[in-house]
Amino acid sequence: MDLTAHLPALQVVVPMLSAPLVVLLQPRGLAWAGATVAALASFAIALALTIAVLDGQPQVYAMGGWPAPYGIALGVDAFSALVLLVVTGAGAASLLAARPSIDQQIEQERQPLFYSAWLLGLAGLVGIVVSADAFNIFVFMEISSLASYILIAGGPDRRALPAVFKYLIMGTIGATFYLIGVGLIYMMTGTLNLADMEARIGDVVDMNPILVAAGFITIGLALKAAVFPLHVWLPNAYTQAPHMVTVFLAACATKVALYVLIRFDYLVFQAKLADHEAQFALFALPLAILGILVASAVAMFEGNLKRLLATSSVAQIGYILLGASFVSQAGLSASVMHIFNHALAKGGLFLAVACLAYHYRDLRLDQLGGAAARMPWTCAALLVCGFSLIGIPGTAGFISKWLLISAALESGPWGWGLVAVILVSSLMAVVYIWRIVEALYFRAAVEGDSLPAEAPLQLLLVTWLVALLNIVFGLFPGVPLELANSTATLLAGFAS
């Protein structure tokens, strides 16, 4: 019995079964430790799976020994491996750093339940990524969504509640749309397995239900992924969530929905539906451009640090969608690369915000004057991740911006216009990151003491680890780039 063969299943099982165990660990230190160990274990599993995939062995797993398409299949290829690394990495890093910040924000007796919901969220997200079954994806999507509603509602401010209510309504509508789409496809093909679906759609005589299904699935997932203009739930939810929850969700939650969106539109529908390429591009491209420009512009005028970064996430989702909408190999690999790099940059930024929030209760920019003098290390880490978000050479963000610009130039006569969009929005990113820098470094402290007071070491170390990773992957983008390129080859191979 070889344990490595079961890694795709263990990836989901480990965090999911740890969740009820963590509830039993009543002393709060133990609950945190248990959750962190489970998250680290699932990160280790993701690493092992990535190594197997890099060796050229995509993993396929038949749940319970039932062969696909009758049983539920799990599968890990280059695309899933990269997204798994992002999800489990974000889960592990945020949990590692979480304790001081959570101790401040969540009542002690509720902490075991809170960590348990966290693990369920992680299990749901990795479940979506490893599933090769359309209905299974729906179930895991709802597990992760329900868990994240609970996590966000844990925010200390009462405004978290209306924010999470809005997220619940919109998230459920998105999931139900996805369910309708899956139902329509099942009706016409009689299968839920993604690979089988892709093969059988070709035999369907009446394509209208499939076309409707493509619409429902794309819109439903766009709602979950907060694609502009379906993003209205995101800024409030991320602003009001406990700081460490924002780190976790901002780094990976919307990206998983984009992962499913790309997988469906490329692997299942592309080349099977007449003109699907053109329709998908026509749908995604304007939304991506609008999202990039509008959200960046809004972020320039945002007064609250957390809300500013949340708004900028909407623009970054636009970049990922932009790459996918080129329907080219270069565009896809830029898009997939940006999933990875944006998780690093935004995760690091929100970690730094959590450090700041340890001493500053009010995160409005005009209240943060003089923070650099009090917390020099935190502010320096924030600066590094901010550079990565802008895309300054030497940081991870530069790699994906560069790929995106080269893909835009290849994409046809409109290429130059798209490059202009990317450059303009990067300039806007310079403006909003500069506003943060100005507040932290060049403005006098509002009042109160200005003695040096760094964030707790646990929080600071993880923040710097992520900040350094931004530089490491900016200088040596080897592994993620290889995964992104083989993803693009895989997806574009189906498209042509």
């Binding site: 329900l146 459920t172 139900t176 099942y186």
Partner: protein
């Protein structure tokens, strides 16, 4: 003939109508409980769609009986799927109601407008 064809899709018409009624309630109602009721109606429509598509005319439950041959079975899979989806719907509703209770505790109202004005 045309009319019969349209009537033949009766369940799907009902599905579409319930779906839009639910969605309308979610968007239009300002009371949070009514919004959740709308959400439930919206989800129930999908249950109807799944149940409709698995029905085979003259089909029964898929149990193999001794001595009975050439039996037509209805497809059991969509029923299983929708059982799962109902569970998901119930848990979403429960969580939604729990959030509304907490909103009522901290704001003293469940009217959307008044909550927006309170902050």
């Amino acid at each position: 003939m045309k009319l019969l064809e349209l009537l033949g899709y009766f369940n799907y018409w009902v599905f579409a109508i319930i779906l839009t009624v639910g969605l309308y309630a979610v968007i239009r109602k300002t009371n949070l409980i009514k919004k959740l009721i709308g959400l439930s109606i919206f989800q129930s429509a999908v249950f109807l769609m799944y149940i409709t598509m698995d029905k085979v005319e003259g089909g029964t439950a898929p149990i193999i009986q001794a001595g009975v041959e050439n039996q037509i079975f209805s497809n059991p899979l969509p029923q299983v799927l929708i059982l799962t989806a109902i569970v998901v719907g119930v848990s979403t509703l429960a969580l939604g109601l729990a959030i509304v209770v907490r909103i009522n505790e901290s704001y003293g109202t469940i009217e959307e407008r008044e909550i927006l004005d309170a902050d």
